[in-house]
């Protein structure tokens, strides 16, 4: 526990007995051992914000004084809600009650004494002691702050820096899912084992010395397309990444841009879940890229895309009638087209709406196809009771040949202000379940730095334990042209399907 788990220079995970970093070659002993805490490295600011704007990525984890009151004044700002969504939008008063003013609520990490609180809307980019040593900083501001100064020429802040997983408490560097190929300072050979540093990697992808499997391409994937970015990670407890995503940008017939993000989570208890999620994400993405440019309504297109994804997953199943455990996955997708935000989903992968103005209320846009969600929706159980049940996370809807009754959910919104859509698998939202939690983890500059924000979110899940594969897409939504155009509730929903009604008995499928 109390040894450096990451290279002091590039944060590449280390093994016991290493004297040099296997990636950047820096001597391990030369650097002072970084201070470690075995706590989740939640973004807790300790220094006042630099005067410059959004240099850093971490927002307050704790409500600032005035947060509650400001939030209380902010009415739900989404318009065109799908029917039934109102139940989900917590009233501002409840928010105030939960977070009473400046008192620091119990934090997951031992929080330092509440820091001086900056004016609303400012962000923190300053180094955080909790992020010392093995943790990766994706945005290291010029000021070194209290963390050890890295040697010259080290790849701090490289966007493709190996991500997360090297935190204290993660004994095993191998489990970090570090993409070896993309390591910024990977040696010329580039084929040294990431686990023992001593062996070369054979053609099968295993170390010739210690036998450890080397990270695969899918273990950690990142993609950025200007208007959208996504990151997928194997996590710390699963041996492969069964999540998949697709992001794309296209143009509508009127020439305006449209952005697509699809995230899928393979069902572990089914066979070949990794293939299922890849097939579904690819098929849904292609369907949208085909439908949107020819002018299909985004919600219509999303509905058809989910059907296309289902067909692609079904095609993976062996043609044996009644075959068990056909490949299966969940799907959640978001399309931003002009002033319209469309989401669609099957299963328990989610989309969240986080306004750029953090005073406004964040929202969850999807309703899980899960046992717990259905119990709550049917009024049979309270939320706390339902989610405490062992069956809570069993999903009741999925894509796959043995799907009970495929029911694509879609909804469209016309937000009157700018924000980002966080499209993610439960590997992330297990560590930031409520929309408020998600908003607090999401960097405030998410709209301008979607890739960085996605990295931060994945890092949050890994710091929390990384018990599942983690995949997140961050889709910025620009405010409509007319700033004052808060013409509310124009019911732009073409076919918003309400939550599953009273379907509490469909066969449940456990999801790992």
């Amino acid at each position: 526990m109390h040894r450096p788990s990451g290279c002091p220079s590039c944060a590449e995970p280390l093994e016991e007995g290493d004297r040099f970093c296997g990636v950047c070659g820096s001597p391990v002993s030369a650097a002072p051992p970084p201070a470690f805490r075995d706590d989740p490295t939640l973004p807790i600011p300790t220094l006042p914000a630099p005067p410059a704007g959004p240099t850093g990525g971490y927002v307050l984890a704790e409500p600032a004084p005035g947060w509650g009151s400001v939030a209380a004044g902010a009415a739900p700002t989404l318009v065109g809600d799908a029917a039934g969504w109102s139940a989900q939008a917590e009233p501002a008063s409840a928010e105030s009650a939960v977070r009473p003013g400046p008192d620091p609520a119990p934090a997951p990490a031992p929080a330092p004494a509440p820091a001086p609180v900056p004016p609303q809307g400012s962000s923190y980019g300053a180094p955080d002691p909790a992020y010392g040593g093995g943790e990766i900083r994706h945005d290291r501001p010029g000021g070194p702050g209290s963390t050890p100064t890295p040697p010259e020429g080290t790849p701090w802040g490289a966007p493709e820096a190996p991500y997360g997983g090297a935190g204290p408490g993660h004994e095993d560097p191998y489990a970090s899912g570090t993409p070896q190929a993309s390591g910024p300072a990977a040696g010329d050979g580039g084929k040294t084992c990431v686990a023992c540093r001593a062996g070369r990697v054979d053609t099968d992808g295993y170390c010739e010395h210690c036998g450890h499997a080397q990270p695969r391409e899918r273990d950690h994937l990142e993609e950025e397309l200007g208007s959208v970015a996504a990151v997928s990670d194997r996590g710390l407890r699963h041996h492969r990444n069964e999540d998949s995503f697709a992001v794309a940008a296209t143009a509508l017939p009127d020439g305006s841009a449209a952005t697509v993000a699809i995230v899928c989570d393979g069902v572990s208890s089914a066979s070949r879940p990794d293939e299922a999620s890849a097939a579904a994400a690819g098929a849904a993405n292609e369907a949208l890229l085909e439908a949107l440019p020819r002018g299909a309504h985004p919600q219509e297109a999303m509905h058809d895309a989910i059907l296309a994804a289902a067909a692609a997953v079904n095609a993976l199943a062996p043609e044996v009638p009644g075959a068990q455990n056909a490949p299966a996955c969940t799907l959640v997708g978001a399309v931003v087209s002009g002033d319209l935000l469309t989401v669609g989903w099957v299963g328990d992968s989610r989309a969240y709406w986080v306004p750029d103005d953090r005073d406004a209320l964040p929202r969850r846009l999807t309703e899980d196809d899960s046992w717990a969600a259905q119990m709550v929706a049917a009024g049979l159980m309270g939320e706390a009771e339902a989610y405490a049940d062992v069956r809570a996370h069993a999903i009741t809807g999925w894509l796959g040949a043995d799907a009970y009754d495929l029911e694509p959910h879609t909804a469209s919104f016309k937000p009157d202000h700018a924000g980002v859509v966080v499209v993610c698998t439960d590997g992330l939202w297990n560590y930031a379940e409520s929309a408020q939690d998600m908003a607090q983890v999401l960097p405030v500059d998410a709209a301008t730095r979607p890739l960085h924000s996605a990295q931060v979110l994945v890092g949050h899940a890994l710091d929390g334990g990384g018990h599942d594969n983690v995949t997140v897409a961050v889709v910025p939504f620009a405010a409509p042209a007319g700033p004052g155009a808060t013409t509310t509730a124009t019911a732009a929903v073409a076919r918003a399907e309400s939550e599953p009604e009273g379907q509490v008995e469909p066969e449940a499928r456990p999801q790992a």
Partner: protein, 440 residues
């Protein structure tokens, strides 16, 4: 997979059957490695001149005349085996007693099979008579000396005995077997019922050949012909199963489990860092299965490692690296999914059962010899149960000659009061024979 250069050589393939999932803290990894060689025999049957050398060792001790049909059967069987020799094969015949004597061609040479030499050899067999003792080590040493002159890849012996190795210190035979191991392969047969099962199976096991009983001398001809056909079908010799393991991984055992159970763990020769070679002898068109068990260092959930790499190697010419024929990977993946980590691979389960079956028979017969009725009944009952459950019908039949089966599924048996020696020896000799996994 195979990158073996000779186009006529068989192609090898390796398949690994295992449940790679381990629970947190799990360390033992079991795998069945199936090696199959195909496509070689037909192509080379005519062409492979000088590719094989065979020495037939015939017991000519005095007991072979009691009854006299043993000696007659041995002569006829040897003649039949000579007729089965492919043209161009180097061969010799040795008469074995308390000393070894060359019968044909003599003067420390090997003959090359053609119609003339075959006729001469059969003529020489007429001179075989019984008389003297039994010192099998001397026969093997002479065979070794003859075979060493041959440059043939396939070097093989066929040994027939009817009695115990009475005129030789067991240690001498052991030392001889150790010296000969790897130099040639040898099938061993016991004729009649006066020989020692452990001696004959020990010879075959050490020299990577088959062992069997020919209780009735009249069946010797048929058996020798089959044996020689088998030898003529061999294409490549001295194939080794190389097991590479990463740092920290211990090999628990390596066993051949089909067609017979042979523990190869002690036969390992080191071959570079963390690699060891297990001899498999010569191969024709055939398939064999190996049970590999390794112990890996404990790792946390979500990790994956290569637990072992099984490679089939053909030794190269002197000074050249061995050729890799095929390879398979044994993996370990730690998971917190209990359904995955507790599943037992059907192949592993089957061959674990077959190995237990062989052991139960051997222990049961041993207990029976010692008069331990309860122990024998328990062990042989377990054997009946295993044979029945795994579909090993041949072994089940042999068991039924030694015990009365009351309930095969439950393993309830009674020892037979009277058991023919031949039946007991047949069961003991063939106890190591296994069946493949049933295709469901």
């Amino acid at each position: 997979m195979a990158n073996f250069a000779k186009p006529s050589a068989p192609r090898f393939s390796v398949e690994v059957y295992q449940n790679e999932f381990l629970p947190e803290g799990g360390r033992d990894v079991h795998a069945i490695v199936t090696v199959t060689s195909t496509g070689g025999a037909a192509a080379t049957r005519a062409a492979a001149r000088g590719s094989a050398a065979v020495v037939i060792m015939v017991d000519c001790s005095g007991s072979m005349e009691y009854p006299p049909d043993k000696m007659r059967g041995a002569r006829e069987a040897t003649a039949a085996a000579i007729d089965t020799l492919r043209d161009g094969t180097a061969f010799a015949v040795i008469a074995g007693t308390h000393v070894a004597k060359e019968v044909y061609p003599g003067q420390g040479r090997l003959a090359v099979a053609d119609p003339a030499t075959r006729a001469q050899a059969k003529e020489a067999l007429r001179g075989l008579g019984a008389g003297g003792g039994t010192a099998i080590g001397t026969w093997l040493r002479l065979a070794d000396g003859l075979l060493r002159q041959s440059s043939a890849a396939i070097r093989h012996g066929i040994l027939l005995t009817d009695g115990r190795n009475e005129h030789e210190d067991p240690a001498v035979l052991r030392a001889t077997l150790e010296a000969c191991a790897g130099r040639f392969t040898c099938d061993a047969r016991g004729v009649g019922t006066d020989w020692e099962v452990k001696e004959v199976t020990g010879i075959a096991s050490a020299l990577l050949g088959s062992a069997d009983i020919v209780a009735d001398p009249a069946h010797l001809t048929e058996d020798f012909t089959l044996m020689m056909e088998n030898v003529m079908g061999k294409e490549v010799a001295d194939v080794a199963l190389r097991l590479w393991t990463p740092v920290g991984v211990e090999v628990q055992y390596v066993k051949q489990v089909a067609p017979t159970v042979q523990d190869l763990s002690d036969r390992r020769t080191e071959a570079g860092p963390r690699a060891g070679d297990y001899p498999t002898g010569s191969w024709g068109d055939e398939s064999r299965e190996y049970h590999v068990c390794v112990r890996v260092p404990a790792a946390s959930v979500g990790q994956e490692m290569l637990a072992a790499r099984a490679t089939l190697l053909l030794p190269g010419a002197p000074g050249e690296p061995p050729a890799t024929l095929a390879q398979g990977l044994v993996r370990a993946v730690w998971t917190d999914d209990l359904a995955a980590s507790t599943a037992i691979n059907p192949q592993v389960a089957h061959y674990t059962g077959q190995a237990e079956l062989a052991k139960a028979i051997q222990q049961g017969l041993e207990a029976r010899k010692l008069g331990d009725v309860d122990g024998a009944t328990a062990k042989l009952g377990r054997a009946v149960q295993l044979a029945s459950a795994s579909g090993n019908a041949d072994t089940a039949k042999l068991l039924a000659k030694v015990v009365d089966v009351v309930d095969a599924a439950a393993g309830t048996v009674r020892l037979k009061a009277k058991v023919a020696d031949a039946d007991e020896m047949t069961l003991e000799t063939r106890s190591i024979q296994t069946v493949r996994v049933k295709k469901s």
